[in-house]
Every structure is written in structure tokens, then in C-alpha cells.
Assembly symmetry: C2
Homo-oligomer: 355 residues x 2
Amino acid sequence: MKIAILPGDGIGPEIVGQAVKVLNALDEKFEMETAPVGGAGYEAKGHPLPEETLALAKAADAILFGAVGDWKYDTLDRPLRPEQAILGLRKHLGLFGNLRPAILYPELAGASTLKPEVVSGLDILIVRELTGDIYFGQPRGVRECPDGPFKGQREGFDTMRYAEGEIRRIAHVAFQAAQKRGKRLTSVDKANVLETFQFWKDIVTDVHKEYPDVALDHMYVDNAAMQLVRAPKKFDVIVTGNMFGDILSDAAAMLTGSIGMLPSASLDANNKGLYEPSHGSAPDIAGKGVANPLATILSAAMMLRYSLNRAEQADRIENAVKKVLAQGLRTPDIYEEGTTKVGTSQMGDAVVAAL
Amino acid sequence: MKIAILPGDGIGPEIVGQAVKVLNALDEKFEMETAPVGGAGYEAKGHPLPEETLALAKAADAILFGAVGDWKYDTLDRPLRPEQAILGLRKHLGLFGNLRPAILYPELAGASTLKPEVVSGLDILIVRELTGDIYFGQPRGVRECPDGPFKGQREGFDTMRYAEGEIRRIAHVAFQAAQKRGKRLTSVDKANVLETFQFWKDIVTDVHKEYPDVALDHMYVDNAAMQLVRAPKKFDVIVTGNMFGDILSDAAAMLTGSIGMLPSASLDANNKGLYEPSHGSAPDIAGKGVANPLATILSAAMMLRYSLNRAEQADRIENAVKKVLAQGLRTPDIYEEGTTKVGTSQMGDAVVAAL
Ligand SMILES: CC(C)[C@H](C(=O)O)[C@@H](O)C(=O)O
Ligand SMILES: CC(C)[C@H](C(=O)O)[C@@H](O)C(=O)O
């Protein structure tokens, strides 16, 4: 079993370092190989997703990813910007199934901006399609506006699209995830306006026939954004497209107030996957030893569960994280009075000790 | 001055009835004419936006709109569904500038699912472009997938697009709104992925040159969704496209916990506008006399201010609403222990009395 380690930029190297430490503390040893990605890829090889990095990611059984991005790359041409690495990896590896749990650990309920009764015990899963939609649809660009009142002016344009098979496979992922949880699935669309999402709704409804034990409902994306604020605990699993999923999964993560705790998995058709924290590269605190490594450590646990078939090891890590929270250890992002403030590597050490 | 009154479906007629009562209680009398729209239009004339209704809306100086939609129309073909009325009015009347304030009245701070310190005193304005973007872009439909791994399958597709002039005019609306408020504007885009919104960002940046007194920043839509949950009071004015605006303005409204209080305006290039509450038609409580009419009454106030040039009358209505809240009157949606529960028409009467 070979793991590609792609630390990336900002706090990426620090937090990935802690996850590697935790993986190395398990009885079974995994082969790991590191490569630069994002801004680091650009610095090392002139491209955010260097060929060697992509080759390593393709050859590996799973990928542990830190985060990419830094203000200093904002002025680069779009194809050279760090986030192209993540889009490229998703596309080249066919990582269409993004699993984003939004879980609020009871000890951290105070960190949320929402009232405790609204969010305590929150445990929802957002399944976001990750290789289709308006993210990759062609044609796109800037052209002369072909008609209407703005004819002849420049216009920016993109193509939203979903093919039947693309919707079916993500729907299967979502229904199967719901079967293992509360057996309720909410498909989020904008079928009242978009042809793409009327089609999405029809196909998800059709796939539902194969999962009679799961209750399916449909919700418009604007309403879903409202319900996440109003009563997030009413959701079990949410499935949606790439663009809506980008927005809703981040909103859901922020409901917990502790995005530093939230892992994610991006899976292909064979459960090979890329695992990364839900938060970004936080260049403002990079190198200061204060970043929270737990989202990355929990991403490593997801990796053991989904791609490496080591559910027991995943459980061990997740329990170790719960233990350090119960011990009162907190990085600054989740610190509250009465708890013990620790840095990035102390937190990693504590998880290792708790294993 | 002629006002078109389009009550629509569900609670629409009840709440619009109260706003009309308030308008009639002003010293100056306005000519008003009512027409069916949405499901009511379909019932009366076989179309959600009957020709006569559109003609009336075009002829009027302003439009007071209730809400449209009911479960029973869900099985109609898309062009006949109630929400097509609202899309049609926006498009035919060129109502490109949607102003959606998200204000939390101090008396209602308890209604929010967010902690009081996070939302009390919230006062942000979302400026949403309303006649462009993926809502109306062509081509769109269901076709055979032309290429890629799903070639030959059916696919749903839509076109996102913004022409330069479309972006410029909404940017002007937003900068001018910011000048009258806190002088800070956040332009929300997804320039890291979408050509349309890289173009959007470039044009907004260019328009900014004409408003040196306004501080402009740019934020990705996923981050904006997070920041609305994390620290909504940091925003002053937000400007964004039709699709992102749909999602963010509803999320922002729900932060207040009292969407029954929030008005909206949709303006054309000459400040003619359509005014409607931010909430929907709530068919479940229609006809029960419990709906909150305040969002519609406040929409009438916005109408007086923006389209009818009667800022003083608008102030009078807004102050009357504040007074009834201070008196402790509450419809069930905003009721809390220690306040007085009233119905729809009692609330309307109270506003009239407070004028
Ligand atoms: C960096 C960006 C392209 C990316 C996305 O929009 O998918 C990010 O926001 C995410 O959600 O992983
Ligand atoms: C009913 C629907 C078409 C509409 C929209 O998406 O614009 C609504 O959600 C709104 O925000 O006014």
C-alpha cells in the first residue's frame, strides 16, 4: 500500500507532518512518498501540478493532501495558480465523489456561532459531485456577446452540464452512504430554473428505485442554504452538484465553528481517494506551529477506512482524537477558557500517545 | 402614480391586503389595480403571467408583489409553473437590480439560530443581479452529450454568462448603495474556477475607479457563505450574480431568524421596481390569518422610497413597524414568551394605528 503525500502550501506541510506521524505510529507501516503541489509545485517545477506529482498520485493507492494557495500566487495566470492543482487532480484521477462530514464534537459546541441547541450533536454528510458541472463544462471563456441587448460587448461565459451517468454514479454513492447512516437523503437542486438540475432531479429520483429503504427528498439550493442555518440537524445526507456542493459544504462546515476539525475524502469509482482537511492553507499562520492538525489526522483516518480498507485503524485514530479533546487539549482555533492550549506538533504527539 | 398589485398564491393575498391597507392610510392616495399572477394567474387565465397582468405591470409605476407557488402546481410543465411569473416579470421589465436587506431588529434577536452577539444589530444589504447569469443564458436544455467519457448519453446543460454592460450597471447600483451606507462593498465571485466570474471581478474592479470613497474587496462564494455564518456583521454591502445571490441572500435572511420581516426591491434602470417580501407563499398556513405581513408592509415602504420618491412616507411606515415591535406585537413566526401574539390583520391594523 503506497500513499502519496502532497503537503502543498501555507500550513499544509505542518499539518500533514502530524498526520504522517500518526500513520507511522500504527502497527502496520505504509510506504509514503512526498511530492510538491500548488504553490510549492510552481516553485519547484514551474507548475502547480508537476508531472511527477501527478504520476505519483496516479500510482499511489491513496493521496494525503494538505492545502494549497497563498496570496503571493494571486497574480499568476489562472492555469498556474495553486488551486489548479486540486482541480487537475480531481479531473485526472476521476475523483468524482466528495464526502464532507460536518460533525460537531460535543466538547466544541461553544465554538459554533449558532446556539448550542441548534447545532450540538450535529452530524451530517454532504456528498458533492466533484468532476462535473460548471467546473469543467465546455465551452467557456470571454467572447463577443452574440445577441440580446448587450450584443457586441465582451461577455464571460461558462457551461453547466451533467450527463446521466455522472448523476447516477454520485447518486449511488449518496444512497449507499445514507443506507449506512440515518437512511435519509436530500438531493439539492435548482430544478425550478436550471435544465441541468431538472435533469439531475429526474435521474436521482430514478436511482432511488434501487434504494427503497432510503427516504429521498428534493430541496432547492436557496432553501437548503436557509435550512442549514435554521435547523441543520434535520439533515442526514445531502447530495448535490459540484458548484452548489462547494457553497453548501463550506457553509455546513462553518456551522460547527471548528472547521479545523473537519476531514474530507474525494473518491474515484474504485474507492481510491484523495484526503484533505476541509479548511484551507491559512498562509497567515503558516510556520507558526499553531495550526490545528486534527482535520488532516482525521482525513488520514478516512483514508484508512475508504481507500486502504483498514477500518479498525481508522477507528483507533478517531478514538484517539476524541480522547485528546476529552483531555482538554486545544489548538488556538478551538481554544476556550478552561482548556489547555497546545501547538500543532504537541497536538500530533497527543494523538499518537492516545492511540 | 399607479401601483400594480399582484397578490399571487398562498399567503400572498393576505399579506398584500395588509400592505394595501397601510398604503391607503397614508395622506396621499395612490391608484392601485390588482391582477392575478402565479398559480392564481394559471387558474384565471391558463398562464402564470397572463398577458393582462404583464401589461398592467408594464404600465404601472411600481409593482407590489405577494408570493407565488403551491404544491399543487408542482406537476405542471415548467413554463406553466408559478415561479415562471416572477422570472418573466424580472426579464420583461428589465428588473436587474435586486436589493435584499438582511436586518435584525433588536427586539427579535432571540429568533435567530445564531448567538445574539454574532447577529444583534445585523444590517447588511445584498445586491443581487437579477436578469442575467445562468438563469436566462442560452443555450440550455437536455441533449446528447457531445464528448468525453459520457459521450452519447443524455445530458442536462445550461449557459452561465455576463456581458460587460450587465456587470457595470449592477456594480454601479452596489457602489452607490455602499456610498449611502458603510462605504464598504464585497463583490462575491468564483473567479478561481469560472470565466464568467473572473470577468465579473475584472469589471467590478474597473467600475471601482469611479467610487474611490468605497472600499472594495473580493471574496469567493464558498468563503462568503462561510463568513455569513461566522461573522455576518463584518459585511456592509455584498454584490453578486443572480445564482450566487439567490443562495447568499436567502442564507443571510435566515441568519436573522425572522425572514417574515424582510422586504426586497427589484429595480430597473429608471428605478421602477417590483417589491416583494423575501419569504415565499407558505401554502401550509395560507388562509389561516397567521402570516406575518410586515415584510410586505416594509416592501411597500421600499416602494415609496425607491420608485415613488416618497422617502418621508417610507420613513413613516418603517417607524410604525418599529413601534408595533416595541409594543410587543408578534405574529406566530416571531412570537416569544412575554410578547403578544396577533394575527395577520391585527398586525396590519396595528401598523396603521402607529402611522
Ligand atoms: C480551490 C477551489 C477550486 C475549490 C473548489 O471550488 O472546489 C475549493 O473551494 C474546494 O471546495 O475544494
Ligand atoms: C422562485 C425562484 C425562481 C426565485 C429565484 O431563484 O430567483 C426565488 O428563489 C427568488 O429568489 O426570488
